[in-house]
């Protein structure tokens, strides 16, 4: 498998996982009244400020044959986690966590509380209110979360290098590949991949900003009403 499709596979897995686990976390952060909420908020935002190598280093320790996660994995599946695709997915999920949770949280918080009260008074429980009111009204946030976590995972380097190493077809993602090409003075090859990543990153950001500015607002509301 070439490095590009491997990167896409990794980013796709991470974005999907983050959407699923990001929603309950974002919901809790948006609606909980617990005073210690800031602790979890800080924890979620930590990968934003942490050097990827620091996160990668601890991820490697945890996943190594003597780390808790690595030991558990050996017991369950008979092999370790470090330098595997699964290990890469796990570490990347942690690394991209804030990119999924923060847009979700912000859009959940932006939903008018009166609508939630109205929904409850019309007999809807929390789950139904989430499904029918909060989620449809937060669709731009959901798209942003998906796209940002996908793009962020696509471009990561430090964590992948620490946890995944550089195994062709298993953990050699496109950003590692670019690094390799540069090391081997293959500037032409490096340039191809680098340009591609640049174009993808720009396209992704265009999508996020367009969705949030509701460039296609009429079409959007028609679609989200279904």
């Amino acid at each position: 498998m070439n490095s590009l499709s491997l990167s896409f596979e990794l980013a796709g897995c991470v974005a999907a996982i983050l959407l699923i686990i990001g929603m309950p976390v974002a919901y809790w952060l948006a609606f909980s009244n617990w005073r210690g909420k800031f602790l979890l908020e800080s924890l979620v935002a930590l990968p934003l400020v942490l050097p990827p190598t620091v996160l990668g280093f601890y991820a490697l320790l945890a996943m190594g044959p003597r780390g808790p996660l690595g030991k558990l994995w050996i017991v369950l599946f008979g092999h370790g986690l470090a330098f595997t695709f699964t290990g890469l997915v796990l570490a990347s999920t942690v690394y991209s966590f804030p990119f999924a949770v923060q847009p979700l949280m912000v859009s959940f918080e932006a939903v008018d509380r009166k609508l939630l009260d109205a929904s409850a008074l019309l007999g809807a429980g929390k789950w139904r209110t989430f499904q029918r009111i909060i989620l449809p009204l937060s669709l731009p946030g959901v798209v942003t979360a998906l796209v940002l976590s996908f793009a962020h995972t696509l471009g990561e380097f430090g964590v992948v290098l620490m946890v995944g190493g550089n195994l062709a077809g298993v953990t050699r993602t496109v950003s590692i590949d670019i690094y390799d090409h540069v090391q081997s003075l293959e500037y032409g090859e490096a340039n191809h991949l680098a340009l591609l990543l640049l174009a993808i990153a720009f396209a992704v950001l265009c999508l996020v900003y367009a969705v949030n500015r509701r460039v296609w607002a009429p079409a959007w509301t028609r679609w989200s009403a279904k």
Binding site: D117, A118, A120, L121, G123, R132, L137, A225
Partner: protein, 376 residues
């Protein structure tokens, strides 16, 4: 299960609301809501100045805010009782609450909004009920529109329909009709009355508009500063306001301080002097003695204007003054008249023309003794 539940609900839905609620709010300083009242089926108006605690009261009834102590019962359904730790959550209280902001779901169509509260019933039954209420509130033709595409009055109709289609046992309305013109308001209220004639549930209607009280009033509960200050028929509660804030809210445009000059007990009147002016008028006798400072409330609509000094009147108070300003508002003219103190009087545009009223014109104000209400 639909039929069984409906049968049970229609039996209890004719219940009277009995509530006694005490709510202390930490965030609002020393504000304490402490009220007890009953509301039988039909309209009950909750009337009072803003900040009196009306909305907090509705939030408590709906279960959105938990009272510090108290009891809320409809018919035989106990919804809240702090003594025995009953607190039914809002989603199963079967109360309809129409907020001032209406809170229509912006991403759903009018029909989807209205059907939102109906789900534990069969498709066919659901369709029939939605259809019935869309017709009753005249919004059937808007069924596929979004809330952002319809007018203010139509939004209000949608919000009412959405709440009532669930067959609630109590309807709470927090100034849902503010901002509508009188005609539209009256037509919505008529539809609401027609709907409730069959269902007979208590409707608590919060307003600080005197006109709405007159239009709707069966019973009024006047609330001020977190307490029930009076209740009864609208005439009794609002035409003899005993508190200044209530008088202002009840549409007494003229609130003047006055000094009692002398009491004429055999006639049941007393003479008072208005403010620092030389104006002396006669007011109904009250528990006061000469020299006391009192507050007098007079409706702008109770003041007559004359372009010449009137004679041969039964009204005891005639004051000479000069028009300061005339302002037309709708079908009514508001005249401000300086008689030493400034009065506000309402006259019709045709009267303005007939009397050739204009700024600086000399006029005489005529006040009946019993139009002068004493307030605390």
């Amino acid at each position: 299960m639909g039929a069984g539940v409906d049968a049970m609900v229609s039996k209890v839905s004719s219940g009277t609301l009995v509530a006694s609620i005490r709510k202390e709010r930490r965030d609002a300083g020393a504000f304490v809501l402490n009220v007890s009242f009953e509301a039988p089926p039909g309209f009950t108006i909750l009337f009072g100045p803003s900040g009196a605690g009306k909305s907090t009261l509705l939030d408590c009834l709906a279960g959105l805010v938990r009272p510090t102590t108290g009891k809320i019962v409809i018919g035989e359904n106990v919804l809240f009782n702090s003594m025995i730790h009953i607190d039914v959550p809002p989603q199963i209280r079967r109360m309809a609450y129409v907020f001032q902001s209406l809170a229509l779901f912006p991403h759903l169509t009018i029909e989807q909004n209205v059907a939102y509260g109906l789900r534990d019933i069969g498709q066919q039954d659901r369709r029939a009920r939605v259809e019935e209420i869309l017709e009753a509130f005249r919004i059937a033709r808007l069924r596929n529109q979004k809330p952002s595409q319809i007018s203010g009055g139509e939004k209000q109709r949608t919000a009412l329909a959405r709440s009532l289609v669930t067959r609630p046992q109590l309807l709470l309305l927090d100034e849902p009709l503010t901002g509508l013109d009188a005609e539209l308001k009256a037509s919505i209220v008529e539809d609401l009355r027609a709907w409730n004639a069959a269902k007979r549930i208590p409707i608590l209607y919060v307003t600080h508009s005197r006109e709405e009280v007159d239009a709707l009033g069966e019973r009024v509960i006047a609330i001020d500063n977190g307490r029930v200050v009076s209740h009864g028929a609208p005439m009794d509660v609002l035409d003899a306001p005993r508190r200044k804030r209530l008088a202002q809210a009840a549409g007494f445009e003229n609130l003047l301080s006055a000094t009692v000059l002398d009491l004429r007990e055999p006639d049941g009147v007393m003479r008072i002097r208005l403010g620092e002016s030389a104006c002396e008028i006669e007011a109904p006798l009250a528990h006061a003695s000469a020299g006391d400072l009192v507050q007098i409330a007079i409706r702008a609509g109770d003041i007559l204007l004359a372009s010449q000094r009137p004679r041969g009147l039964s009204a005891r108070n005639v004051l000479e003054g000069k028009i300061l300003s005339l302002e037309q508002r709708g079908t009514m003219c508001i005249a401000r008249v300086d008689c030493g103190v400034t009065f506000v009087a309402h006259v019709t545009p045709s009267a303005v023309r007939a009397l050739e009223l204009a700024s600086d014109k000399q006029v005489w104000l005529v006040l009946k003794t019993h139009s002068c209400h004493l307030v605390d």
